[in-house]
Symmetry: C2
Subunit: 278 residues, 2 copies
């Protein structure tokens, strides 16, 4: 079992990933997760709004998701981008089924409707946020589809305990799915070759993070910037919890999944046995 | 087994239908189909375009679906409207799963990329249309979901044989699904009380069309205007092919599905045995 996440940043043509999925899904069960960040920004601007990114007091940048932004997120993530990927897989002969994580209660958690943020240097309390975190993943719908030959294509938003659509992080969704499905590997594809020491230098790629080695983790965390810090932390947790390997790799090359599984990118694994920590 | 279609015209609040679905789905397997026409028009205009409705040489009005219109259709039908309905059902305790008819190859047919139309009184040949008709319905994904306690929520577009998203008529989709699922009844809810002799007078409702009685059909066809003609024809075909009853009913009243099944609306049925004709 393999979980593949394709990031939604600008500059990624999904064709390489879809080609690879079409071949690999003949050999192995795969759940395909995707984002749609760049298209969401584009559509937000086309509708005359500006994407509202706010910084939390801990320095984390997130999208303030009021009701209209959630409308757009449903349209772009679960509609446009999800179904174009399903169409691309169907055209390649793969019987794909597109879902949002709220369908069939795949991923649920609490909604946090208030966001404490810093905007233009000032602390603010923003209410009406449709965002939350994933606490429960129920893989039964995905397993049902996989057992019957379908390839699930999955995207945020998830479902709150109150039954509302909530914005959740796509990387975290794919990690939690990989854990719930006891996947052998999780491949996270984006518009970088992996974790770079120097963002402007692809040769500065960190090839491996040994999650059993505290020094290796510290070196990786020192190199990671912004959102990448969260990705590395979450990836380490996933390896500790039993995923054989987590790979951050480049979506912009042919056969991106095969390359990632062959070690091209940043591979997170445990070189010696480690106790299960969370 | 019941198939319920909720139209996408303006002036329909889905809450009544969702309340009814939440109760009825405890007793019976239901497939829920929906449109999103009014929201699609609204979003098309918000993005600075005008919906392009064209008249065919036979007088049928349809939406010219170029690639950008299909993007919008995927966003609005399969994303925004589909997932808001799923969310509404989840909030009512129903484990809904939203799908487009292209997912899992539920509905397939040929793409017709050229549209011969009359625009501003002149005949035109419009190319690049992503539209088509449904020739094959595969109900296995829907049956799989129903057998495991999920309520499928389904919407156009369907899939072409070449693997492209194609615009198909939502009423026809629901009729063909009802046939493939051997449903006991099909309820088509919209913003009218049913088939009216006089559109401005709800009291002119035609309460029954006896599909075994040619006179009854002729009277109904004489009363039907525009798109309603197609609905009546398709409904008659469905009853002839074995659906116990087809009901055109009002979505704007409490318990719209229960009312329709109790005979409120225009009921199409066969009062005497009829041979299977197509």
């Amino acid at each position: 079992m393999l979980v593949v996440k394709l990031g939604g940043s600008a500059g990624i043509d999904p064709a390489f990933t879809l080609d690879d999925l079409a071949e690999l899904s003949q050999e192995e069960k795969i759940v395909f997760v995707h984002g749609a960040n760049a298209v969401l920004d584009e559509w937000t601007r086309r509708l005359g709004r500006e994407p509202r990114l706010v910084e939390s007091s801990t320095g984390q940048v997130s999208r303030f998701t009021d009701r209209e932004t959630m409308d757009l997120m449903l349209a772009v993530y679960a509609g446009l981008v999800n179904k174009r990927l399903v169409e691309g897989l169907q055209a390649r002969g793969v019987n794909a089924v597109g879902l949002a994580a709220l369908d069939g209660r795949i991923a649920r958690g609490p909604r946090k409707d208030t966001l404490r943020a810093i905007e233009n240097g000032k602390p603010k309390v923003l209410r009406g946020d449709y965002a939350g975190s994933i606490e429960e993943v129920d893989p039964s719908l995905l397993l049902l589809l996989l057992d019957h030959g379908y390839l699930p294509v999955l995207t945020p938003p998830a479902l709150s305990y109150g039954g509302e659509a909530i914005n959740v992080d796509g990387d975290k969704l794919s990690l939690q799915l990989a854990l719930a499905l006891q996947a052998d590997a999780l491949v996270i594809l984006s518009n970088t070759p992996g974790l770079l020491r120097d963002l402007s230098d692809p040769a500065s790629l960190i090839r491996e993070i040994d999650v059993a080695d505290e020094m290796s983790i510290q070196a990786a965390m020192a190199a990671a910037r912004g959102r990448m810090k969260k990705k590395v932390e979450a990836g380490c947790r996933a390896v500790r919890a039993g995923i054989g390997q987590v790979v951050f790799a480049d979506a912009r090359v042919p056969q991106p999944i095969r390359r990632a599984l062959a070690g091209e990118g940043t591979v997170l694994l445990a070189r010696s046995p480690i106790g299960v920590r969370s």
